[in-house]
């Protein structure tokens, strides 16, 4: 009887009928950071994109395994190498009741290119959109692009008329003196609607009764709150005030696992943590070696690589919550990465390499490290410094907050760093992004691979990257990617450390899918009685 009753109620909910409080299923979750502006074009950041991904949708979506699946486009095909045709889903309505049509797609493309937009890289700047009919759009390119739609799952489609009526035709610019309503309101096609939003405090979502898809959740309400303090977030979960929180601080994982009402969901994340050595300058800025740059010598870089005991970092610092990496892209995004393996940890070999390179007594160098950006970032740097002391490289560590760190070690201060730690996850989920941003060449100002904080350069990688960008044959393309990554590996251009692991604390009452990109998508969440 009870079961049939609840089945009836769930059916009633799905049909969009008002549900009484007795069967209300509220999912309350907390994250360490804020959900600031609700304009998903104004901040290209995983958490914001994930939260808005419950409310708005792109032409494509990504499934539970990150595979690209149809979203607002039912299907698409490459008509010619430079012309992609997207067939839009019919009968889709925005939350305010308007129909979704090709005009909204064209408008969203324009909006994505407005000055305040932070997601301009979602499509090539010279791509044109052509409306074929109300539910067909062609995208015309100047050159073939096999990964054109890879990031379109987070290029959310705006309603043209709503944006015009609400003064939200431009992505909210950080400098604007008046704020656009889109920073506090949202209108999408997604399975949830934003009911209220107080930045930094609380955001309330309700299911969209008219959603085009079949709901995989059983929720009637979702409440998001920021809880900044680690200890408080853990306490709130343990006391049952929230149903889910992210992230679980590594030191609390065991304690949460032993609690009766809570489980810890862990899984590999796509972000890779790695070390950069300044191999760009002719003399290091922060070292006792004068007149030359030891990091320009691949043997020195390899010595540093082999002196790092990655297993010790995994067990002692990450408490098992990391996956040692052989290259700077996760195997989840590039299968070929599994064919690569790390240079083995070998202190003797490292010492020999250093001696061969002419530094038998080592040298000193300063290392810059963020202390509030990645999981245990500062502790990892301390461990690296300690490990390098075994091969007589004396590391002076400068740990600093991320706002400071990215300014110093990055292009703003012209890469004012000799040795540093960085994390990267390719927004497109494709290896080309890594080649173009992390291991490609750059000049002193950062033109080229801007996020190559060490400045390592092998022109062969750049050449390969150019070909990879336009190669439509996947097998050939993958072979070239592997070649480029292998060049970097052999020369130890950067030193990959690990992919950090995700850790969500989840109440045992809740079932939720943990996707490796760390987006919290509650349209896959179920709350049990």
């Amino acid at each position: 009887m009870k079961r049939s009753l609840s089945a009836l109620l769930i059916g009633a909910m799905a049909a969009g009928l008002a549900a009484g409080p007795a069967d209300a299923k509220t999912f309350r979750y907390a994250f360490q950071g804020d959900l600031n502006a609700l304009d998903p074009y104004s901040l290209n950041e995983t958490f914001t994109l994930g939260a808005m991904g419950n409310v708005m949708e792109g032409l494509t979506k990504r499934g539970k395994d990150l595979a690209i699946i149809p979203g607002l486009a039912e299907r698409w095909e490459v008509v010619e190498p430079t012309r992609w045709r997207f067939h839009l889903r019919k009968g889709v309505k925005f939350h305010n009741g308007e129909n979704f049509t090709a005009d909204d797609v064209l408008f969203s493309l324009d909006r994505m290119r407005t000055p305040g937009s932070q997601i301009k890289s979602r499509a090539p700047a010279d791509m044109k959109a052509v409306k074929v009919d109300d539910h067909t759009v062609d995208f015309v390119l100047s050159q073939p692009n096999p990964i054109l739609h890879y990031e379109w799952d987070t290029w959310y489609i705006y309603s043209k008329s709503w944006a015009e009526a609400n003064g939200a035709t431009q992505a909210q610019a950080a400098t604007a003196t008046s704020n656009s309503p889109a920073s506090l309101k949202a209108n999408g096609t997604g399975p949830f609607m934003v009911m209220s939003h107080e930045p930094g405090v609380k955001t309330v979502f309700k299911p969209n009764p008219n959603w085009w898809g079949k709901p995989e959740h059983n929720l009637t309400e979702v409440i998001f709150q920021t809880i900044k303090s680690d200890a408080t977030r853990v306490a709130a979960l343990l006391s049952g005030e929230i149903d889910m929180m992210d992230p679980v601080p590594p030191q609390d994982i065991e304690r949460l696992k032993s609690a009766p009402n809570v489980q810890v969901l862990t899984g590999p994340e796509i972000r890779t943590i790695f070390l950069n050595m300044d191999s760009f300058r002719n003399e290091l800025l922060y070292s006792d070696v004068k007149g030359k740059n030891p990091f320009k010598d691949a043997r020195v870089r390899k010595a540093v690589y082999q002196a790092i005991d990655i297993q010790a970092i995994k067990t002692r610092i990450m408490r098992g919550m990391s996956e040692p990496a052989a290259t700077v892209i996760s195997p989840l995004f590039f299968k070929g990465a599994t064919q690569m393996s790390r240079h083995p940890y070998d202190v003797e070999a490292a010492k020999k390499l250093l001696a061969e390179a002419g530094y038998p007594k080592g040298f000193s160098v300063e290392m810059d490290c963020p202390n509030d950006r990645y999981v245990n970032d500062e502790a990892i740097c301390q461990a690296v410094a300690q490990m390098l002391s075994r091969i007589d490289i004396k590391v002076k560590l400068n740990a600093m907050p991320k706002a400071k760190y990215f300014e110093k070690a990055g292009p703003t201060k012209k890469y004012d760093s000799s040795f540093n730690l960085l994390g990267w996850s390719p927004g497109s989920g494709d290896a080309w992004n890594v080649l173009a941003n992390i291991i490609g060449c750059r000049d002193a100002d950062g033109k080229g691979a801007t996020f190559n904080y060490g400045g390592y350069c092998n022109p062969k990688i750049d050449e390969l990257a150019k070909k990879i960008l336009v190669e439509n044959d996947i097998a050939k393309r993958d072979a070239m990617i592997l070649e480029a990554l292998t060049i970097n590996h052999n020369e130890a251009g950067v030193i990959p450390l690990h992919q950090q692991a995700l850790a969500w604390g989840v109440s045992k009452k809740v079932e939720i899918v943990q996707r490796a990109d760390n987006q919290i998508l509650f349209y896959w969440a179920k709350v049990k009685d």
Binding site: A174, G200, A403, W424
Partner: protein, 325 residues
Amino acid sequence: MLAYSIRRIFEAVIVMLTVALLAFILFRFVGDPVNQMVGQDTTLEDRERLREELGLNDPVPIQFARFVSNAMQLEFGMSYQVKQPVTRLIAERFPATFELSIAASLFALLLGIPMGVYTGIHRDSWISKTFLSLSLVGISLPTFLIGILLIYIFAVILGWLPSFGRGTVTNIGGWRTGLLSASGWKAIILPAITLGLFQMTLVTRLVRSQMMEVLRTDYIKFARARGLTSRAINFGHALKNTLIPVITIIGLQLGAIIAFAIITETVFQWPGMGLLFIQSVQNADIPVMSAYLMLVAFLFVTINFIVDLLYVWIDPRIRILSRET
């Protein structure tokens, strides 16, 4: 009195300008706000353009002059992160901090004064000794630790009180209060104790020492000789005379409580100004930081000013002295 007030106002303006200047110099060292505003894939050109638009490339004196002239019109710009006007953000967050500060002060007074009186009268009883050792804990333990301890005891183990947030909030003409709902009252207990504990120990010790001093004075001895009840002596005569310094201290401390609620607000995720400030520091959100610092400076200056005026009004000696000169 008028000349005195004008002089104090002039001094206050100088203090505010100094704070603004110091804050501005400090902002050179908080890091790059642009990096916190853009996504990782943003090109260098876009970053540079944004920096130019925000005026971050201008010389510091020009930025400072622009800031001061805007600030005089109460215009603090837009938050880099939340993309809302800073004045509105702070106005929205002020009620939370204010209610918490008042609750903390009341807690400090309502517990601190009786404890101070008791320990002042019964110096050697074991209850006094317990109170005093407890107050030592309040002074020596850091705020965040007290907060976390309270959360674990009352939220996790006992499950009586919420561990974070403000509970249900009611909006009355723009002032969002948590004091009209049961969940709001429950939510304010732990943060108020955490924030007020230090003040409470301060009040206890202050009242105690004042009491001990007053009880030795002649008029108390005369009162005893007149055969008054000890209740009338202790509360009617002694306590009244100890309260003047206590009120002064609490008045001054209110500014400190509001300004330094930062840690308590972070531990309890209390959506007040302090939490806003911490978030803005982490993201190098300069407009929020500068407005907050100016507001805190303004609060201190104002409270000091009022206390000074009250002194003149309460203590006739100062008044007479200034008239003579």
